[in-house]
Symmetry: C2
């Protein structure tokens, strides 16, 4: 995988700069510092600065930006919080970054319908804070405090997906600006519809290459009456994964079921000052009525016991639960901290659950053989897991080894009927796997759609679809 | 709404007939009887016969049919069981009907992964019969014993959608033949993926206008350990609907929650020899462990009590449950039987649940004012309900009044933020509502997609997208 080309292909036309400055004033900027902030995400790819940044305040303004960019053939890259992991927001062919962070209003909380309309710059934590007191919550929780627009664009999920689904299942409708500057409204407020092509799902996961999301309606869920959490250590990763498989097959509606391997536990103990047994562990959370939560937990404890689970530890009190899940959420930074100054190259395969134990076991062996440091952590209820491969930022040889390891992990997942990315998206970093995963005819259909909706290739060019 | 044009636009070219006969032998037929069978669905629209019918046995053969049709510019209409309700399978511009009923094998039941691969002609009842003994079931149950290919093509759902989702949520991946004869594989076996455009969801609900589905992988669910059912009568429809709303808002994971109005109960008592109180009723089903089912049922009984629910009646024994749900499944035929010889014009709106009581109440008033007979029945947990407007098949004036009533019902649902179709699809019958529901820019995007993927308009032409 080569690094993306950085910076502009040609300087911005003066007339474009004039038009944008006239319309947006100081909200359109060529400042080096602002461009630098929009020139990197959480991936290990080198920075690639946009030629300018514009901070939009409305759908209208976004459409005006797209029309102006179209007139001058300037690429347009949507920017939320910059927490993408595959270079999604890097302007690899230059162009301007459209920053949605100032479109961050929660517009309409509809308690009776269990849904909410938000602007795309609202982050998941902000949304849950604003839902305080309504009895509802928004469950999707990628590692970062991402924006909802970005989460929709990458089809994000997180630890709750096993019960509550991903962005695919939780977005009811969108407003989006298309490449020709038109504004479309997709979906609606009804829970289901059979009325025509599913433009909502087409835009979800399209990473800003088909349209720019300027408003979203998303589902909310009732806060469970009771919540209980538990951790359990296992003699090995395979035993932990087998516990997961049986839990899912029994139909237990577990809300979260997360794997951390022994290396991750070691990292956590060091970083978060916990004193967990340094063995592979599962973190569970159960949602429901008090009786149902207790019943779920008891059943899972029995299953874990069958697979040699040790130290099944309960956390009934909110503060204990928070401590436990804070540790789980620290995993990324705890992992990075194993090797100060490094960056993480994060893998993201997802496989059918029947293959998960084999896949995780073989991945561990690959990592050990590679000599690289890479903790494993996963949303194993969905068959999705990550390795965080720690690399020195400027050590090209090491990065190449990490990329080779990533390739091996992806190839195995694909052989098992899985996907190269469960929740992070393709961006720039995983384009090389698209053809292998989908086959040439399906890639050609994706290209036909891209060409039909964005004939001049202005929207986030150079992403998702492999070159050629 | 005018009736579709019936029959061919021009005779099939002799060379086309030769080519198809050579390849398919007796499985390609011009027989009047076979064409007649493929010239009507369950809608009230007049018959429109295809010019020929071909019975395919494989993806390969389907691709060969499409390539041959493309060569001779002959329209291609996919046919499952013919149970569509909006004229989906009517060849309004002539062409050939591709019958998938002989592609009806369950290919691979993967118990450990809770999924199954099927050919598109497998029906939902056949699938559940073949799943017997696995501990798994397929929950999606439209009224008819539809084929899974057809259910995917119309984004179907049914009584279990409130808990288990629709075809949108339950299809993992598809094989499809596109208009150029290419074969694509979408999705995969992983539970989630962020790898590129969601072609699976684009094909689901596309009603054979973008591609022909020749294989599906669908999710299965563990058979619940315990099942309990109940019926409860209410003083009026609004009280029943308010019980539904509160049940959903409390987050009770009810598996089914169905409304039948008093007229429907009267029809059922007459047709199914039941002796239910002739008042609006809710039918419930609860899935889970014995303890959780009992807890759910107790909570719902309390809620129903708050809204004046009467005669809350339990059905714990399988035979009592079957009797109850058999009655619910008889609704369509019981309704038709209220007026022997008539056909049903079935409405299908879906609204945000906060508007459901208003919507159902106003719909009842509209029906009463119209002088037409139209029982109301609905999957109210999703905000979706049907009226079955009984019309004499050849009484154009009465059909026009029924269509006017349907329009009023749809317009109200759209004003409430709902959709013209929750689960039946657009076909020919609801094209007139597409522009109003989606707006011109979104319709233009749908047209761009259709033109890109089927530039010669060969796949089920004249459906979904309004003319013009």
């Amino acid at each position: 995988m080569t690094a993306p080309q950085s910076g502009a292909q040609r300087p911005l036309p003066a007339a474009f700069i004039d038009a944008m400055s006239t319309r947006f004033g100081a909200r359109f900027t060529l400042s080096e510092a602002v461009r630098a902030h929009h020139g990197h995400d959480e991936s290990h790819f080198p920075d690639a600065l946009p030629d300018a940044v514009v901070f939009v305040h409305s759908t209208e303004e976004t459409a005006a930006v797209v029309r102006c960019c179209r007139e001058f053939a300037v690429p347009v890259i949507a920017f939320g919080t910059g927490s993408s992991l595959e270079g999604h927001i890097l302007p690899v062919r230059g162009g301007i970054s459209v920053d949605f962070s100032e479109m961050n209003k929660v517009l309409d909380i509809r308690v009776a319908d269990l849904d909410v309309v938000v602007q795309p710059g609202v982050t998941r934590k902000q949304l849950n804070a604003e839902l305080h007191g309504t009895g509802l919550f928004f469950p999707i929780d990628p590692g970062a405090d991402a924006s909802l627009g970005g989460m929709a664009a990458t089809r994000a999920s997180g630890t709750n997906a096993v019960r509550y689904g991903t962005m695919r299942e939780n977005v009811l409708g969108l407003t989006a600006v298309m490449a020709d500057g038109s504004v479309i409204h997709t979906g609606g407020r009804a829970r289901k519809s059979s009325a025509g092509y599913d433009l909502t799902r087409l835009l979800i996961g399209s990473e800003g290459t088909l349209g720019l999301i300027t408003e979203l309606a998303v589902r909310l869920h009732p806060l469970p009456e009771a919540v209980s959490a538990a951790v359990c250590a296992f003699p090995d990763v395979v035993s932990a994964v087998n516990t997961v498989i049986q839990t899912i097959q029994l139909g237990i509606p577990v809300a979260r079921i997360e794997l951390v391997d022994d290396l991750t536990v070691k990292a956590l103990n060091r970083y978060s000052k916990t004193s967990l047994r340094e063995a592979p562990m599962l973190f569970f959370e159960f949602h429901g009525t008090p009786a149902s939560v207790e019943e779920q937990a008891r059943t899972v404890q029995d299953v874990a016991g069958e697979y040699g689970g040790l130290d099944f530890e309960w956390a009934h009190r909110p503060e204990d639960r928070s401590r436990l899940w804070a540790a789980r959420h620290d995993v990324y930074f705890a992992s990075i901290n194993l090797r100060p100054g490094c960056r993480g190259l994060t893998t993201d395969v997802c496989v059918p659950i029947s293959r998960l134990a084999d896949c995780v076991g073989a991945t561990r062996a690959d990592i050990d053989a590679s000599g690289l440091i890479a903790p494993i952590v996963g949303h194993v209820g969905d068959g999705n897991f990550h390795t965080v491969i720690l690399v020195a930022p400027h050590d090209d040889a090491e990065i190449a080894r990490a990329e080779a390891l990533n390739r091996r992990i992806v190839e195995r997942a694909l052989e098992m009927g899985g996907t190269c990315t469960g929740e992070h998206g393709i961006g720039f970093g995983k384009q090389g796997f698209m053809l292998r995963e989908h086959g040439a005819p399906a890639i050609e259909v994706m290209r036909q759609i891209k060409r039909a909706l964005d004939p001049d290739d202005l929207l986030n060019p150079g992403k998702i679809l492999p070159p050629g």
